[in-house]
Amino acid sequence: MTSAIVVSGLHKSYGSTHALDGLDLEVTTGEVHGFLGPNGAGKSTTIRVLLGLLRGDAGDVSLLGGDPWHDAAKLHRRLAYVPGDVNLWPNLTGGEVIDLLGRLRGGLDEKKRDELLRRFDLDPTKKGRTYSKGNRQKVALVAALASDVELLILDEPTSGLDPLMEEVFRQCIEEERQRDRTVLLSSHILSEVEALCDRISIIRRGKVVETGTLADLRHLTRTSIQAELAGSPNGLAELPGIHDLDVQGNRVRCEVDTAKLDAVMRQLSASGIKSLVAQPPTLEELFLRHYEDDVPAEPEAAVR
């Protein structure tokens, strides 16, 4: 398997701000890769380095097998980029911008252009300054999705889209995946990432702290258990991976590392389970753990 994007040990600072601090990232050809992290973590900065708009201070970056700084214009014909903040030229219409960007990338699929305009319900005759934020975003999306390219780099592409359009976007990315295009998708919308991404990378303070499939990452979270037992529980406290244990008579509440669930369940059923409520880990919990500042990043080593 080849990699569309390989970044290793990337550093980038703006004056005294270390935006990227030894970032490693690998995006396999043909996958949809989610790129998540709290505000200011360095997602956009990474993407700008990938596009050759910024020059990394140290580290190696390879994009579609080339060097994005030196071969920028050549590589850019093979990719399409949707920025997080789309600003259009005030006196160009959306349709003109779509055509212009497509042509500058080396060509536009006319049929797809029309189809996308319809699906995104976008009026191409409006002037740039009169579009709403969501509609500006759609202009950039249509321009990118209608281009015949190998790689899509999308920086929070759905910020400002309404739920209906968000759904259209998901369908479009799903179709891109069918066509084996590679997508790097930076996003704050967890359900979107969950629905679309083959693998994700979580970035915090300029470093990637987690990489893997969602199943891999789920493994790292805790399931919360409430059980009423036939007899009094014993031996629970000694089990590895059990947290916040609270025993009152025959009632048990605890949090269990999902990877250690099996052993805990055995122990519980040994005492006879009368009722059981198990809450599966939500993605939110997973992310919140990484997003919150003072959470020690304990499972980090376990994954990589």
């Binding site: 700008r48 850019h76 980029y81 030229w89 003109e96 960007l101 005759t125």
Partner: protein, 532 residues
């Protein structure tokens, strides 16, 4: 009263944002006035020298159309400061107008106002605060100027008349900008429209002032800058004339608030029309995009330059009307007869036109930076467009645009001066040549913006500062007795004086070569730096 809620907060915010800019502007104006007064007063210690200088100036159509008439040829204050009367009023007007646009339309356009207000701002708060800031700035500027002139030894009443007529011009154009920022959709357009009104005001007073027989003198009264001149500081001190700009300001404020009310009702002044759903076949390169972005402003400037050229040529043909007194006739003979003096006038005016065309070059090159900071460069540079191609597209617009402007002005002046002098066949090529020689200096100044953009993008508006310095060196370098090397710094000083003067190739080639080198260096450094 609810309409004004939040005005105070906005005033404080504006003063905070401009806490460096405004004092610098004020200091520059005050120093220029005081310095210029002092320097000239020393020059004219002898009353006879004073009167002679005043007469010579009044007999020169170039000086009269550029700076205005001297009303009292024996007034030390007026003769010392006449170069700063109309010209200074123009610049204070520019300051007053720019400040208003900066704190109304720019804020609105950038969305900062929205962010800030979160619904607690009265609808007139932005305009009111901008007018307060702008008005207070020009009034303080005027009062400090008056004090500094008194400090230079000029009389009190005249000094206050002078300072206040400057402030009055600032107020007039603050009012103009209050209206233009309601009418247009972008700060760029609002500033542009204000500048056009300033230009028209300056030209109107030039027409009135250079009316040889007095029949068209009334035209000056159509111009806010004309009103400032008519205060006649140090030559009658007609303070009552200051009422005219105050009434003008009141009318414009009323108009602006009426526009705001209409905008709020959703009547929308400039209804955006839908455009083409597909791009024209030709819109397929960075250059085509740059043309699209610059063409509107280039057309407007081109039209203005054609009119300016026609006007200059027309004034030139009336030059002998100025020559009435014996001493003036004598002077004219010394200067090479009527043709000599006409040529001298045209050469001076072409120099001014060159300065104006540079302003287009600078703002066109600055477009690079505004495209970059508005995040519109980024999506382009993420396509197959290379950095060099993108940079070249805007630089070409700046260089070719200034070329078109200056030649259009040359053509206009050639046609109108040729038509009235009856030698069109000779005058048109002469004026085209006279305008073309301005280009190297214009290009050099534009190139300074390009290299700043490459090397120090945050300082790129310093291009205007350099331009201002060159302008001051040209206007006041000799009065201030600056050392020659400093005077030589201004590229405009090296432009051959055509028509009529000697043409030498060397300075033209040098200026062009330096401009080219700066542009190449600008490209090289832009390729190496981060975008954003």
């Amino acid at each position: 009263m609810n309409d004004f809620v939040g005005t105070g907060a906005l005033v404080r915010l504006a003063l905070r944002r401009d806490r460096i800019l405004i004092p610098i502007w004020i200091v520059v104006f005050v120093m220029t006035a005081a310095g210029s007064a002092k320097a000239t007063m020393d020059l004219y210690a002898d009353p006879k020298a004073l009167v002679d200088a005043a007469r010579t100036s009044n007999a020169s159509p170039a000086l009269v159309s550029l700076y205005g008439r001297i009303f009292d040829e024996s007034s030390l204050g007026e003769v010392s400061l006449f170069k700063l009367t109309a010209f200074g009023a123009l610049l204070v007007g520019l300051l007053g107008g720019m400040l208003v646009v900066r704190h109304t339309r720019s804020e609105e356009e950038s969305g900062r106002l929205e962010l800030l207000s979160a619904g607690v701002l009265g609808r007139y708060a932005a305009l009111a605060s901008a007018l307060i800031v702008s008005g207070a700035t020009v009034i303080v500027l005027g009062l400090l100027t008056a004090l500094s002139l008194m400090g230079s030894g000029l009389d009190t009443k005249g000094s206050f008349a002078f300072g206040l007529m400057w402030a009055a011009a600032g107020l007039s154009f603050a009012g103009v900008a209050a209206v233009t920022s309601q009418v247009t959709e972008s700060a760029r357009a609002a500033n542009g429209l204000t500048a056009v009104v300033l230009g028209v005001a300056y030209v109107l007073r030039a027409i009135g002032d250079s009316s040889a027989d007095g029949s068209t003198q009334w035209v000056s009264w159509l111009s806010p800058i004309g009103w400032s001149q008519q205060v006649r500081a140090y030559a009658g001190d007609r303070l009552a004339v200051l009422l005219v700009p105050l009434v003008f300001l009141a009318v414009l404020i009323a108009a602006a608030t009426a526009l705001i009310r209409r905008r709020d009702l959703g009547a929308g002044l400039v209804r955006p029309r839908p455009g083409p759903p597909r791009a024209a076949k030709s819109l397929r390169s960075p250059l085509a995009l740059a043309w699209r972005l610059h063409r509107g402003s280039l057309l407007a400037w081109g039209f203005a330059f054609l009119l300016l050229g026609l006007l200059v040529g027309n004034i030139a043909s009336n030059v002998d009307g100025f020559v009435t007194s014996d001493s003036a006739k004598e002077m004219v003979q010394k200067l090479g007869g009527v043709e000599g003096i006409t040529d001298a006038f045209l050469a001076t005016e072409m120099g001014m036109v060159g300065l104006l065309a540079s302003a287009f070059g600078i703002q066109a090159a600055l477009r690079l930076r505004s495209e970059e900071t508005a995040l519109r460069a980024e999506p382009l540079l993420a396509t197959g467009v290379s950095r060099a191609q993108w940079l070249a597209s805007h630089v070409l617009m700046a260089l070719l645009g200034t070329g078109v402007l200056i030649l259009v002005a040359g053509l206009g002046s050639g046609i109108s001066s040729g038509a009235s002098l009856g030698n069109m066949g000779r005058q048109v090529p002469r004026m085209l040549a006279a305008s073309a020689v301005q280009l190297p200096a214009i290009w050099l100044v534009t190139a300074l913006v390009v290299i700043l953009f490459g090397l120090a993008p945050k300082l790129v508006t310093g291009g205007w500062a350099l331009y201002g310095v060159f302008l001051l060196i040209g206007q006041f370098g000799e009065i201030f007795n600056l050392p020659q090397w400093m005077i030589n710094l201004s590229p405009y000083g090296h432009t051959p004086r055509l028509p009529g003067g000697d043409f030498s190739v060397a300075p033209v080639l040098w200026l062009t070569a330096i401009a080219a080198a700066l542009i190449v260096a600008g490209f090289a450094s832009f390729r190496r730096r981060d975008i954003g």
